[in-house]
Amino acid sequence: MNTQLLIQLLVNGLVVGTLYGVVAMSFVLIYKATQVVNFAQGELLLIGAWVCWWLLTKYQVPFYLGMPITLVFMFLFGIAIQVVILRPMVGEPIISVIMVTIALSTVFSALMKWMFGVNLQPFPRVFTTQNVNILGLQVQTVYLMSLAVSLAMMVGMAWFFRLSKYGLAMRATAFNQQVAQSLGISVKSVFAMAWAISATVSAVAGVVVAVVNGVSAGLSAYGVKVFPAAILGGLDSVGGAVLGGIIIGLLENFAHFLDSEYLHWGNLYEIAPFYALIIILMIKPYGLFGTKDIERV
């Protein structure tokens, strides 16, 4: 058994998993607040990455300036999507809402390919040192950065929901829209804010992935991996999404390890999360922390 490879892959899985967790968290945020399943989450990540790349390479903006500009842009972009496209869909059947987000993802991914091409573009170097030695294990600096940023996002999200006034308003809306509205919460602005925050958080994840691997159309694959993560954690649990993301990331890399060492099937790590997804849906559809939907007549 190749222990070195296993440890390397597990570290890899942890890093990728926390990123999945961040994206899944922003996915769950939209679902919880607005009851919309966002199939365009991966594209939000992609747009954030491309915008940052564009600022950094075309306008030579330094990273510490480019990143905030990207986030402000994505914040406004999230509001724009909600107001222009999803607000008219309130009250429509679930299939229509799902189809709108699927169509949005098609439009965005094609738009990005059109504007920036299909090739992988390397991201400008952000860090000067390549590797850091931790307990005898060579870890890339970008990995550490990715882990740190993800954790910071999670802590920030937890603070936002538990302690800020807006977070309270959002939780109230998620709990019961009518009651929240009668208590003076503007449900409209909560919906817009949910999309704005989700887009911003996704963009952070997108930039992190871009710094690690470069930018390409393939980034939107993160949007698909969100589903196994969010389902495993429970569709309406923010903490569950984070945990689900980490588990899926580890599972993916463990499948990769099994595959390369013993099975030699090829590509197992890409498909393993979907088998996991089906199994979870069959035995525990509401995930680890999701609330079970009880219907009364």
Binding site: E92, V100, A103, A110, I271, F274, L281, V297
Partner: protein
């Protein structure tokens, strides 16, 4: 009542049979028969290119019809329809190559095998609904695509599988002109089948599950059975469509059965009208003609300022994808009932012309 030539002003129907009849008047039935007879002359009048478009509309129309059963009539969501379409294509090619079964029997057999696979993936539908089901079908899409890439004995792996041309009584129907009749026959049979299914007891059960599944269950409809059944039926028509597609191209490669194709199938039924049988065909025609018309437009605009700005020649593929997405959004926001609804409105307008108000 079915013998009238025009619908009387007012509702005089006294029996359920009159209410559920396929053709409300003699005129509408005759118009349909005349239409089918007229389209039989198409191969002699139209050129190869137009004919190939018609064949595509027929093939995708059958598969989209299956999707409309599951989405439109049963109210479940399936994002993995293209994978079943692909499965039908590979199955038919495999059956005819491996076991030497005549292609004539391979196509319905492929439908049956695909239906079995659809039932397996429909099993989660017994417990799940709405979003959870949508996500399960998304997983089915990826798992089946992975299976196509992996199972070399079945699909040929990276080498495309070849499919025999269609033949009946030793007479080979090769080429667009002859194959058109095969597709036409299948379209007529499939659309008749589904139209009649919706009028039957089982069809009404499906619609009841869509409209209010709790009430349906209380009325004694077996939810598990009908949800799974609708997936099986959808996969059956997808399989038949896929098999027709395989024997039309005579080669099946791994390309073209991905999630983007599934989205196009969904677009077909949304544009045509969710829960409308004839609307499905309209939506399919729209979605087949949309990329083609964009192609014509890009040729017409060559070297014009618009072309120079957009770079049409290189970017037509991306623009086409964007157009598909935008069209879906536009229809969902402005015309959620699709072309079928628009068509009814137009008919209603002309019925009372010029005194429509």
């Amino acid at each position: 009542m079915a013998t009238q030539t025009l619908i009387p002003a007012g509702d005089f129907r006294t029996t359920y049979a009159a209410d559920t009849t396929v053709f409300p008047t003699r005129t509408s039935r005759n118009a349909m028969i005349v239409g089918i007879v007229l389209i039989c002359f198409a191969p002699h009048v139209l050129n190869e290119y137009t004919l190939s478009l018609l064949i595509q509309i027929g093939i995708f129309g059958i598969a989209a019809l299956g999707l409309n059963i599951v989405v439109g009539f049963t109210g479940q969501i399936s994002i993995g329809h293209a994978a079943f379409f692909g499965f039908g294509a590979f199955t038919s090619a495999y059956l005819s190559n491996r076991f030497g079964i005549p292609v004539f029997f391979c196509i319905p057999l492929a439908g049956v095998v695909t239906a079995a696979v659809g039932l397996i993936f429909g099993l989660p539908a017994a417990r799940l609904k709405g979003l959870y089901l949508a996500i399960a079908t998304l997983a089915a899409q990826y798992i089946l695509l992975d299976f196509f890439a992996r199972a070399e004995w079945f699909t040929g792996g990276s080498v495309p599988a070849s499919a025999e041309p269609f033949s009946i009584f030793g007479y080979s129907l090769r080429g667009d002109k002859k194959y058109f009749y095969v597709v036409l026959a299948y379209v007529v049979v499939c659309y008749l089948l589904v139209t009649n299914l919706i009028r039957s007891r089982d069809g009404r059960a499906l619609v009841a599950v869509r409209d209010h599944y709790l009430s349906a269950e209380i009325m004694g409809i077996n939810l598990t059975k009908y949800r799974t059944l609708s997936f099986g039926l959808a996969a059956f028509f997808a399989g038949v469509g896929g098999a027709l597609y395989a024997h039309y191209n005579q080669v099946v490669s791994n390309e073209g059965f991905g999630i983007d194709r599934s989205i196009i199938f969904l677009a077909m039924i949304i544009i045509g009208g969710i829960g409308s049988v004839m609307g499905t065909l309209m939506g399919t025609a729209f979605m087949v003609l949309l990329p083609e018309s964009m192609e014509w437009l890009s040729v017409a605009l060559r070297d014009s300022p618009i072309d120079q700005f957009l770079g049409l020649k290189n970017n037509i593929a991306f623009l086409r994808e964007m157009a598909i997405g935008i069209i879906i959004i536009v229809f969902l926001v402005f015309e959620p009932d699709g072309l079928a609804h628009r068509w009814r409105r137009i008919k209603a307008y002309w019925k009372l012309y010029p005194f429509s108000h």
